[in-house]
């Protein structure tokens, strides 16, 4: 249901900050799970500033990066449990990232639902 009013509603969403890519954090690999950590996707700023991406695409990207951040934190947690993690702060940073990404996604979802409800309640 692509009502033109949605563009206006999307412009009222808070500007999403850019999450740092996890690939830039200096995890040396240690003897933990094999394979390098895939860099997490950065969440592009939503709203009028980035008109080329639809809102749905933005939301999907945010959710994907959440998956990546959570998987990353899980991997490092397991490596810390067996005592293989070399840098403690790597896990703490990844865990914080995952928490923030979750909160962000939840906030975006809430705002989207709120906007949708507002639109649905408008008299036709």
């Amino acid at each position: 249901m692509a009502l033109p009013a949605i563009a206006g509603a999307a412009a009222q969403l808070p500007t999403l900050p850019t999450l740092p890519s996890t690939g830039q954090i200096g995890w040396t690999g240690g003897t933990g799970p094999a394979g390098a950590i895939p860099p997490g996707d950065t969440v592009p700023a939503a709203g009028a500033a980035n008109g080329t991406q639809s809102f749905g695409q933005t939301l999907t990207k945010a959710l994907d990066s959440l998956q990546g951040a959570q998987a990353n934190a899980d991997r490092l947690a397991v490596s810390a449990a067996t005592g293989d993690l070399t840098n403690v702060h790597d896990y703490m940073i990844a865990a914080t990232e995952a928490s923030l990404a979750t909160e962000l996604t939840v906030a975006v979802r809430n705002k989207a639902v709120e906007s949708f409800n507002q639109i649905m309640n408008m008299g036709v």
């Binding site: 040396t28 240690g30 070399t86 403690v88 703490m92 865990a95 914080t96």
Partner: protein, 138 residues
């Protein structure tokens, strides 16, 4: 290794503890008299070496120090003229160990400082890691 600094500091503690043990052994035997037919009490010296190199330490590899052996001092000792000693030989000479108390006390102080320095490393590292554990909390 999750906290490599602790292993390193612990190896340092081991080396200085062994050193202090050796010095206490020497000091306990300052007056151990032997007849001239036997070797004198030989002072103990601790031989220590570094584990690994600088590169491995930075990436969490083996680091620290280890005792690789004990070497012994002069077996001839000091010949002292003491005819009243039951161990004295025909000329009245006995062997005293070639251990100098002043030198041993100095070594003891150095070993103690080294031991305390390693303890302080453990303490500071523990504080640092605890700070890391509070990343992202509130």
């Amino acid at each position: 290794m999750l906290f490599p600094t602790f292993q390193t500091a612990s190896s340092g503690l081991g080396v200085f503890r062994t050193w202090m043990d050796a010095v206490s052994d020497n000091m306990a035997n300052l007056d151990t008299v032997r007849p001239t037919s036997q070797a004198a009490f030989q002072a103990r010296f601790v031989v220590a070496q570094a584990i690994g190199g600088g590169q491995e330490a930075m990436t969490g590899g083996p680091a620290g120090a280890a005792v690789t052996g004990i070497s012994f001092g002069d077996a001839a000792g000091r010949l002292v003229h003491d005819p009243t000693n039951p161990l004295a030989d025909a000329q009245g000479m006995v062997r005293y160990p070639d251990v100098d108390m002043g030198d041993q006390m100095t070594q003891l102080m150095i070993a103690q400082r080294g031991y305390e320095a390693n303890l302080s490393v453990i303490d500071r590292a523990k504080d640092a890691y605890q700070q890391a554990l509070s990343i992202g909390r509130g």
